[in-house]
Amino acid sequence: MLIADLDYFAHKNNPSLKPSAVVFRLVLFLITTILVLSTKSLPLLITIYGFLILVILFCKVPLRLTLFPSFLPLVFLLFFLLSFRSLNILLALTIILKALTLSLSTLVLLVFTSVYRILAVLADFLPPLLVSSLWLTYKSLFILNKNLVSLLAAWHFRGGLSIKKPLSSLKNLGFGLGFLLIKSLDMAEKEYEALMLRGYNGRIYF
């Protein structure tokens, strides 16, 4: 799971990051976002995008964690651009680069600064309910990913999914996901019990 890989890379390479460093990175990210969103200048976009690529290459960050996933928005982008009968090539490039630059900048932020560190800094400014929700969701990702891998293994070993039987496969897929959903409900109930037993008062402490 990409999220898990990014988190692991960020922790492994930056085990202790000062809050001031996190703030600096967030401010840089914010400036980049505003610049990219507001500009129409293709040279500027190329410069920012090129800079991000250089950072990735210089710091030897795996491309599978940053560059490749950043191409995701291209799909919908292509549908959007294909809907134009005629489009100026420079304008098309501008639109493409805007999307890709923003996508890449978020991944570069996260590959160096884990979600935990970002939340730790923002926890004092965001509503506690939102911080708790974000943290509990993030934490649950890792638990559920483990369960999903087990489910995939079960499908693999026990069959039930085959392209030759689409309807039956879809049914088994639905049932498997239903099982995962019910398991999530049970885990949520236990987590709530743990929160109450441990005196949760609306705040997660970082």
Binding site: S83, F84, S103, V115, L129, L173, F175, L181
Partner: protein, 234 residues
């Protein structure tokens, strides 16, 4: 582990159409501003007493995470991604699914899916979908068998989301077309080159495959839950 049927594809190609994925930087600024203001107003109104939601926080966390984790499953070769919006909306209800929509979209955009400037708009649309799913499933279609309930709910909700996405993408397309006029200084004003019919075909034509699959999947999932733990759907 290497599983043949599923490519645990991190580099997803086709996204489920009910999510707003117009490129960053093409929406008019007032779309972003108004959606953010509306989002915050709704958020404050819904969660003015946060302590009332403590009990459901773990549920919110797990279901949001489940939506994210299952999105990593790609049903090859049709390149369609599983999305549990409808079941999650039915279980969480309108208030919590509002927050879940934001969390899911925030994490998706942070992890390279794009749409960082459309987070609030996307969250509003997704929470509208989940709220309508809840309403249809629990109130309007409540007398129907679970499978049929799930199917109708999913189809209506997913097409609704697609329609909203289409309308907003159309606005973005027209804006870009106008930009082309000012950018190039050569195009004639009447030559707005954004093809609505082509966009409509992409959304409703190709998108219908996704709607159909997603609806069937959600229905089977809900039928399973009804069999195993029916109180969840009450």
């Amino acid at each position: 582990m290497n599983f043949d049927f599923f490519k645990n594809n991190q580099y997803a190609t086709l996204k489920e159409m009910s999510h707003l994925h117009i490129p960053d930087g093409v929406l008019p600024f007032y779309y972003i501003l108004f959606s953010a203001i509306l989002f915050f107003i709704l958020g404050i109104a819904i969660f003015r007493k946060p302590e009332k939601n403590y009990k459901k926080l773990p549920l919110l966390g797990f279901l949001s995470a489940l939506m994210l984790v299952t999105m990593s499953l790609e049903i090859a070769p049709i390149l369609y991604h599983i999305n549990l919006t409808v079941p999650a909306g039915i279980i969480l209800g309108p208030a919590l699914s509002f927050l879940a929509a934001f969390i899911v979209n925030l994490l998706l955009s942070l992890f390279g899916h794009g749409g960082i400037s459309t987070i609030f708009l996307n969250s509003l649309i997704l929470s509208l979908e989940t709220s309508i799913a809840w309403l249809l499933f629990k109130k309007i279609f409540k007398n129907l068998p679970v499978f049929l309930r799930g199917l109708l709910t999913s189809i209506i909700v997913l097409y609704l989301g697609t329609a909203i996405t289409f309308v907003i993408t159309l606005q973005a397309g027209k804006r870009v077309a106008k930009n082309q006029i000012t950018f190039d200084h050569k195009e004639e004003l009447e030559m707005l080159s954004f093809d609505e019919k082509r966009l409509a075909f992409l959304f409703f034509g190709l998108g219908s495959v996704g709607v159909f699959l997603e609806s069937l999947l959600s229905s089977f999932l809900l039928a399973y839950i009804a069999k195993v733990k029916s109180e969840v759907l009450d």
